[in-house]
Amino acid sequence: MKIAVVLRQVPDLIEPLEIAVGGKALDLELATFLVNETDDHALEQAILLKESAGGDVTVVAIDYGDIDNTLFTAAARGADHIVKIQLDDDTQPQPETMSIALATALKDIGPDLVLLGSQTHDELLGPLGPSIAHHLGLPYIGVVCGVEPFGGGMLKVFKEFPGAAKAALDVKTPAVLGVLAAEQPPRYVPVSRIRAAAKSAQFDEQEFDPPPVDALTAVTELYAPEPAECAEMIEGDEEEVASRVAGILAERGLVK
């Protein structure tokens, strides 16, 4: 089975994010980036599928943030091929641009299965998977938590629903799956293997000139959430804060 995995970079929330001058976007000038968590699970699911049913795994990523380190790690984890797409600049692209660029590269690969994370922390609705599926003319299933091949180009795909409900779907490949969690946590690879991959991994570097995209929506203002009125901000020194917290817990009968 030919599996393609999309890996995206997201801003690392270890650093406080700030709103850029103009108030319509985040200031990512000083932000550090890391691999999107659910994409990391998609890669793990792909490697598990390769290990259980054979095939090869191609990782596709757009060049921004700290993508090289993410791609070396993917190679160390077991990815067979790596496609790195260079756009006209190295900042985080708009969602639609990202979708067209990735779909174009994926068309050339012609995979039986495309896996990517079902969401990112800066796009909780997860529009990229359905959008790529639309451009490729393939079905999309999101919030996937397990995939098993059972021959004849068919997959058993497990999907989570609210309330701990789980569904098993029979899916004919090719298809695009948005992964929420792999069947096991992404495996740890020793740094020596990542360092070896950094020396030996070959990237298929592709340039892509994105067509102009008419955005259907535009951000008019970005601002930090205001504290809701029901929230009580407790101030004072440690003793005062601790005593107020203890008082609230006692008022509500949570402690005696």
Partner: protein
């Protein structure tokens, strides 16, 4: 390099393990193991290990190393060096067999315990085990009444490049110790600076945990950073880092003059003494940390500092100096409490606090950032937190110098 026909091994995995070990002079000593079992008997966690050091070597020789690599006991050594210290053949088991068996386990695809994976990932991504922002390295200096130079922003020659360490930089209990040490250095007129956001862990525990690649990455980065600065010596708050600089970095061609803070201050004892003007009424017992103590053989400087404090009466636990019991936090043990207890290991810090209580001391003095929280937790678990204060030697000195922030005494 040993030849397969000369080694009493029966399979390739065991041979490769012993052959790679034998590439270094200390590792070659492993070939001379006579299977006496002293290491296993003396290890404070040996009874809970399926494969203590003697058995690891036996399994490698007899073609059963794979069983060892899959065993939880691979991840149970806490780097206390007791086995190395007692081995009648002088084999450096802690620095050779343990990292090698873990390195092999990782290379063979075995996963380390999740809590340890997190520590590794944090080190790789952020240069500190706590997964904190590098830019917040000097947050502990906010509002401090003395200047702490950030050499990464203002490069200049200093006498001391102080490597603050991960816990004193980020963990609130240890940040207090960092602030008090900054005041002590200032009172002594020492010109010192830190690396600010550019400071990274020295990677000492990764090496013991077999993450050689991560350790090498940190050695390269740290050596390059130190070379950019003009200083007389490195001074470390963390004994694990001191051990790494003293014992491991030179093997990578990175040699720097380094001292643990107890050594640095004890060398300036006569200069320090006039500042110790306030009596500190404490019956203190000192816990020898394993890295400065058993690994580097340095036992007196911390005691000299404690004895110089007016009012402090120093009493010894029966297990002291070379015979000291580990707190259980070294060699990565700090991030393996869950794994060790799940597989039958004792919480060594509980045992050590009981030993301190048995002396009648009211203060357990330490000189390692890990030990404050480990021993304070144990004192609470044992219901002895009112009976026994756990203090870094820096805190006791600062109290006597009138530079402390209050605290447990």
């Amino acid at each position: 390099m040993i030849r397969k026909q000369d080694a009493a091994v029966v399979d390739d995995l065991g041979f490769n393990f012993l052959a790679e070990l034998s590439e270094s002079p200390e590792g070659k000593d492993v070939l001379g193991c006579m299977q006496c079992g002293t290491c296993s008997g003396t290890c404070p966690l040996g009874v809970a290990m399926e494969y203590p050091p003697r058995k690891i070597i036996l399994q490698a020789r007899s073609g059963h190393l794979e069983d060892v690599l899959a065993s939880p006991s691979v991840w149970m050594c806490v780097g206390c060096y007791t086995c190395s210290s007692r081995c009648p053949r002088g084999i450096e088991l802690t620095d050779t067999v343990w990292p090698a068996v873990r390195d092999f386990a990782l290379r063979e695809g075995h996963q380390p315990p999740v809590e340890l994976q997190n520590a590794f990932q944090n080190l790789y991504m952020y240069g500190n085990v706590l997964g904190k922002s590098p830019r917040a390295r000097l947050k502990w200096t906010k509002g401090l009444d003395v200047d702490v130079l950030d050499l990464s922003k203002n490069r200049q020659p200093v006498e001391v490049l102080w490597l603050v360490g991960d816990y004193p930089s980020y963990y609130p209990r240890n940040q207090k110790v960092a602030r008090e040490f900054a005041r002590i250095l200032t009172a002594l007129g020492v010109s010192f600076g830190t690396l600010g956001a550019k400071e990274k862990s020295l990677g000492d525990c990764d090496r013991l945990f077999g993450e050689e690649g991560l350790f090498e990455t940190l050695v390269e980065s740290n050596a390059e950073m130190f070379a950019k600065h003009d200083f007389e010596r490195l001074v470390l708050t963390d004994p694990h880092g001191y051990r790494a600089l003293h014992k491991f970095y030179p093997k990578y061609g990175a040699s720097f003059t380094a001292q643990h803070y107890t050594m640095f201050l004890a060398d300036r004892l006569e200069q320090l003494k006039p500042h110790l003007h306030r009596p500190v009424q404490a019956v203190a017992t000192y816990h020898d940390n394993c890295c400065v103590g058993r690994r580097c053989g340095c036992y007196e400087p911390p005691r000299q500092l404690l004895e110089a404090i007016p009012g402090v009466e120093l009493v010894e636990m029966p297990r002291n100096r070379e015979n000291g019991l580990c707190c259980g936090g070294g060699g990565g043990g700090m991030w393996l409490d869950g794994h060790i207890s799940e597989h039958g290991g004792r919480r060594l810090s509980d045992d050590r606090v009981k030993m301190a209580l048995d002396t009648g001391a009211d203060t357990l003095a330490v000189s390692c950032p890990y030990e404050l929280s480990r021993f304070e937790d144990s004192a609470k678990v044992l219901g002895a937190e009112q009976q026994l204060a756990v203090c870094d030697i820096i805190e006791l000195l600062a109290q006597s110098m009138g530079l402390n922030e209050g605290g447990p005494l």
